[in-house]
Symmetry: C2
């Protein structure tokens, strides 16, 4: 069973890597066979290859994207639910959307938790200038 | 596919019925074969009978329980993620916990959306006086 503090640290690392455009650091947080649905309703990405393509597409759509977890993160077993903000900057303007994320973890080869499943609830239509 | 405004109205009705201790009104929001995991990590309740037992146990543990949805609710397809507060009053003292809920809806017999699956992320250890 993944450790709660380590799971929480992965959320912070995820946000830090995404915000710093550190693709390798970000990809290292995922299990090899992880799945991602971001946002809900889009096709499921399976495995680090497709998840890496998601990174390229996402980062390509914006000058930069900040992810800012809020104070609310509930860890239960191998799952965590957290809410926060996605702040893309496009054409020099920063926008903001609220997000609720559901993650499931698995133990990585060295025992540290890796993201096995990620589902992100946010609505592109709710994006507004920050 | 359930209607987004109707799904959102079910969240408000759920909170209103729970806060008003209206068991019949609350039970009517669920599909017959719905499942509930509240909080995550506890045994899954299956069907309106077991969900009704959950009601009796929950309401029996407190003088009253208010559920207060926050502003954040993201509707995607037949799913909704929302966050808010659970405020039980026990022994005359009101407590508060934050919650993230994940719901999936199904179309009811009259076309109105019913809750088919509910997963509630909250941590009993995080309860504090309001």
């Amino acid at each position: 069973m993944p450790d709660a503090d380590q799971m929480s640290a992965v959320i912070d690392a995820y946000a830090a890597c995404f915000s710093a455009a550190d693709k390798d650091g970000w990809l290292a947080l995922w299990a090899d066979d992880a799945t991602m649905e971001d946002p809900i309703g889009t096709p499921l990405k399976k495995g680090r290859g497709e998840i890496g393509e998601f990174w390229d597409q996402s980062q390509g759509m914006a000058d930069s994207i900040k992810i800012i977890p809020g104070d609310l993160r509930v860890i239960a077993g191998d799952e965590v639910a957290w809410s926060g903000e996605i702040r893309p900057t496009m054409g020099g303007t920063e926008f903001v959307m609220q997000v609720i994320e559901l993650w499931r973890f698995t133990d990585g080869p060295d025992g540290a938790p890796l993201i096995a499943e990620m589902r992100a609830f946010w609505d592109p239509a709710a994006m507004r200038p920050a």
